[in-house]
Symmetry: C2
Subunit: 202 residues, 2 copies
DNA sequence: GTCTATATTGTGATAGAC
DNA sequence: GTCTATCACAATATAGAC
């Protein structure tokens, strides 16, 4: 999607901000227009309907982290280098766009049937991401760990802390947002070691 | 909250189902009435406003997993027994109410300022849940692992797979919902060992 | 491209009959 | 407690002037 005019960009910027925060149904076209400082009817002029504007925002959100992940997956790094790189890529993306996890997961949860289509559109082949793991599983790095469970663990450890930001900040860091962010940055170094460690049998 | 009449129960049941699925703004009073098979104005009769109905559902959702967690935390089990029990409690709750994570996280994300108040209302003292960990940290079980990071890891590994259900099912289990559920059940045994393993230095 | 005016529908909420 | 009728308002969307 190419954003030609300045107005179009302002619309998308405001729409992203508000859709991320309040969701699709919780955000009105008027809200977006006000935030962008433009007339409400311009939203319809550029995007025809709220649905289409939302679609643009949703796809942009998916596009913010899928390509980064895909490129890591498709690189020919070995597992030992692959893991820290993947963790860092995910966490950096999350720090930059901390509201995306909930936004995307909420939409996919309300509309689970979208997943297959999205995967096709984004050119995601589940088998590609695994080939690397499966090769190395043969060589024994994974021990008895199921590759799928392993993958779930990595994603959980990287993404959940951002989806649960408010809870974690309040419950563990006494509401101190900076302490929370610091902790998230630490996880870039912490997680790879922890994950590797979890693979070796006790 | 005591649900006296049958009608009131039908309302709450439908409201839970729809609010979990579509969120507060995405669900209309008419939707709920239709789902419950009753007249729309009865919702106002019993709950006065949509806000108050939502509050009832939200508190019920919080109440579904907070007490279970709190009771585990406040028991005087030692860490080695505490961990599997905590993991099992969380995952069992998630299997029973898989939509609660996103529902709660989305609401708390849109409205982060609710967290402190909720913690007070539910009688959650952040220090209580940690006392157990901190005692044992002195005795060296945690090694150099930060207790807060550890806690984040446990919650991430237990909860995220449910928040990301549609993604995981599609990406890792070819859309096979039963395979997904089986994997979640396996995690009850898998995670405690993995987590303990991650604590020991390599 | 941007505005005003307007059409149309949906929404939350209440009053009052039964 | 449950219904019908009705309110005030907000929502998306379009037509048409400039």
């Amino acid at each position: 999607m190419v954003l030609s005019t300045e107005t179009e960009q302002k619309i998308v910027t405001s729409a992203e901000k508000l859709f991320y925060q309040k969701g699709k149904a919780g955000t009105s076209m008027q809200d977006i227009a006000d935030d962008a400082g433009i007339n409400r009817t311009l939203l319809n002029y550029y995007f025809r309907s709220k649905d289409q504007l939302f679609e643009a925002v949703f796809r942009k959100a998916m596009g913010r982290f899928v390509p980064g992940l895909a490129s890591v997956m498709q690189s020919d790094m070995r597992f030992s280098a692959y893991l820290p790189h993947m963790v860092e890529t995910i966490i950096d993306t999350m720090i930059e766009h901390p509201q995306i996890p909930i936004f995307v997961l909420q939409e996919l949860s309300s509309n689970p049937n979208r997943m297959p289509q999205i995967m096709r559109e984004m050119g995601i082949d589940p088998r590609v991401g695994f080939s690397k793991f499966e090769e190395e599983q043969v060589s024994g790095i994974f021990g008895r760990m199921d590759v799928r469970q392993f993958f779930i663990n990595v994603l959980s450890l990287c993404i959940f802390p951002f989806a649960a930001r408010s809870v974690i900040t309040e419950l563990l860091y006494n509401g101190d947002g900076e302490a929370y962010i610091d902790a998230m940055k630490q996880r870039k170094k912490l997680l790879p070691a922890l994950i590797m460690n979890s693979l070796t049998e006790k």
